[in-house]
Subunit: 324 residues, 2 copies
C-alpha cells in the first residue's frame, strides 16, 4: 500500500493531509506557518509534520511515495521552485529539492488554485471528465485547467488568470494587478463585499445597512450578502445578479478558449450557490456558441476544506508515477 501527503501551505497555517492511493484523507494536522522565521524553518516544520503523520498512522516511511505542496504565489512546477510568494515572503525557494532531500521522497509544488482544481478533477465532480476547468471565488479569482490529468500552464506557468480580464468598461475599480475593472474586483468574495459596502456608503437602502450600521459595514461578508438576498433585500439581489452576470461573461471567454467538459466553481463565494449561479448560467449560455454550452456540465466545488490537500497529494502521486 502506498501513501501520499498533500500540504496546503498558506501564509497563516500549514495543513498536512495523509492520503491513500485513492486519495482519501486518512489524517490531517495543522500548524501555524510562522513564515517570518524563513523558508528553512517552514520546510523543516513541514518535514516534521509529515513524519509525525506517518508515525501516528503506523505507516513506514518507505510507504510514503510523494509529497505535494500547494501555495499561493508564482510557482515553477517544473523546477519545483517557489519563485515568489508574497504571503510567505519567499523568493526562489527550491522547495522540491530541499524538502525532497530532507524526506527522501519526491516533492512537487504548484500554485494553490491549480492544486485545488486538480483535486476537484481527480476526486471531486470533475472526475471522469477529460477537460476540467475550475475557478475559485475567494479573496481573488483564479482558474486552473486539467486536460486528461495534466494541468495546463502556458508560457511562464501563467495561463488562466481569469480574475484579471476586463469584462465591462463601466467597471472601473483599480485592481492590485495594475489594471482597472478586472473581473475579480466584482466576481470574488471580496468583490461582492466591496460592491455592498460602496452602495451602503453611498446611502443605499438595504437590510445590510441595518445589520451593519455605520462603520460596522466593514465587517460584512459574502455570506451576509447571501442572508440578505434570502430576506429579499434588493441591494443584495442586485449585487448577486450583477456579479453572476459578469462572472458568466468572463467564463464565456474561458469556455470558448478551453472547451471544457466540466466547469467547477469553488472558493468561499461559491457558497452563494444558485443566488450566483443562476445569473451566471444565463449569461454564459447567451455568450457562448451552443456547441460549447451543450457539452458543458457545471458543478459547485465539493472539496471545500480538503481541496488543496487532496489536489496536492493527487498531483504529487501522478507526477511521481510519471502519469503527468
Amino acid at each position: 500500500m502506498s501513501f501520499f501527503v498533500g500540504v496546503d501551505l498558506g501564509g497563516t497555517n500549514i495543513v498536512c493531509g495523509l492520503l491513500d492511493e485513492e486519495f482519501n484523507v486518512l489524517a490531517k494536522s495543522k500548524q501555524p506557518t510562522e513564515a517570518a522565521k524563513g523558508s528553512d524553518y517552514v520546510l523543516e516544520k513541514i518535514a516534521v509534520m509529515v513524519e509525525t503523520l506517518l508515525r501516528e498512522q503506523n505507516i513506514a516511511p518507505e510507504q510514503l511515495k510523494a509529497v505535494g505542496i500547494g501555495t499561493p504565489g508564482f510557482i515553477d512546477p517544473v523546477r519545483g521552485v517557489c519563485v515568489f510568494a508574497s504571503n510567505l515572503r519567499w523568493n526562489e525557494v527550491p522547495v522540491s529539492d530541499q524538502l525532497g532531500a530532507r524526506l527522501g521522497v519526491p516533492v512537487f509544488i504548484d500554485n494553490d488554485v491549480r492544486m485545488y482544481v486538480y483535486g476537484e478533477a481527480m476526486k471531486g465532480p470533475g472526475r471522469g471528465y477529460e477537460h476540467v476547468l475550475g475557478i475559485t471565488l475567494g479573496t481573488g479569482m483564479s482558474a486552473g485547467l486539467v486536460n486528461n490529468g495534466q494541468l495546463y500552464y502556458g508560457g511562464g506557468f501563467m495561463a488562466g488568470e481569469i480574475g484579471h480580464i476586463r469584462v465591462d468598461d463601466a467597471e472601473s475599480t483599480p485592481c492590485g494587478c495594475g489594471l482597472v475593472g478586472c473581473l475579480e474586483t466584482i466576481a470574488s468574495a471580496s468583490g461582492i463585499v466591496r460592491q455592498v459596502r460602496e452602495a451602503l456608503a453611498a446611502g443605499r437602502e438595504s437590510i445590510l445597512g441595518q445589520w451593519f450600521p455605520g462603520e460596522e459595514a466593514a465587517s460584512v461578508t459574502a455570506a451576509d450578502v447571501s442572508r440578505a438576498y434570502d430576506e429579499g433585500d434588493r441591494l443584495a439581489i442586485e449585487v448577486m445578479n450583477h456579479t453572476g452576470k459578469l462572472l458568466g461573461r468572463g467564463l464565456s471567454y474561458a469556455v470558448t478558449m478551453y472547451s471544457p467538459d466540466a466547469l467547477i466553481i469553488g472558493g468561499g463565494a461559491s457558497l452563494a450557490g444558485e443566488r450566483l449561479f443562476k445569473p451566471m448560467r444565463e449569461e454564459l449560455q447567451k455568450s457562448v456558441y451552443k456547441g460549447y454550452w451543450e457539452r458543458l456540465t457545471i458543478h459547485p466545488g465539493t472539496l471545500i476544506d480538503d481541496g488543496g490537500v487532496i489536489g496536492s497529494a493527487a498531483f504529487a502521486a501522478n507526477r511521481a508515477a510519471g502519469i503527468v
Copy 2:
C-alpha cells in the same frame, strides 16, 4: 531523404504541396475540388495529385512518409474523420483511413485554421517559441494554439473559436453561429467590409463611396478599406480603429487564458498591417496583466499562400514520427 505532402482542401480548389524534411515546399499543384462529385471522387483526385507530384519530382513512393490534409469544417483529428464540412458537403468521411489505404502512407487531417497555425509555429515566426497562438482574420475569425509542437484541442476538438466571443454589448450583428455581436462580425475581412458598407448605406461620407458608388459598394474589399485609410479617409480610419480595438480586447481574453509566447496574426485582413495592429496592440496592452504582455511577441503571419500546405505537411510529419 524523407518527403511529406500537405493538402489544402477547400470547397473550390485542392492545393497539394510536396515538402522536404525541413518543410520547404519543393513543388505544388492545384486542381478544382469538384466537391459535388462526392468524397470518393475528391479523395481519389487527391491521391492522383500526390502520385503525380512524386513522379514529377523523381521521388520514389516509399520516400513519402506522411500526408496531411487541412480543410474547413469540424474535424476529429484523432479518428482522422471529417465529421462535417459544409463547403464539401461531407459527413463522417473517414479521410485518414480511406486515403491512407489508397496511398499506403499515414494520412492525418485537421481543421484548416489549426493547420495554418501549425505551419506558422513550425516554419513561420512562431518557430522557436514554446506556446504559439495564431489567429486568422478571413471570411471568419478563428484561432489555433500550439504548445511545444502539440495542438490544443479541448473538449470536442472545439477550443479556440475566438470569433464567437462577445466583446462589446453595443455590437449587435447577428452571427452565423446563432449568437449576436460575435467578434468575427467585426474582426474579420468580412466584418471590416460589412462595417464600411453599412456606413455607406447610411449615407456616411467616404472616399470609398466615391470609388464604389451606389450598388458597387457590394464589391468593396478589406484591401480597399486599407487604400482609403492611406488616403486619410475618416470612415476607413474609424473602421480600422474600432476593429483593431475590439480585436485587441478579444485577444486579451485568449492571451490570459493561454499565456502564449508568440501571437501570430494571419488571414487576408491581416494584410492591413499596422492600420489594424496599432489599435489592436494598444487595447491588448491595456487589457492584460503586464506579466502576459511582457512575455508576448506579436507577429504578422508570413506563410500567406503556403501556410495550409506547410502546416498540414508538418503536422503529418510530426504525427507520423510520434512527436505529437
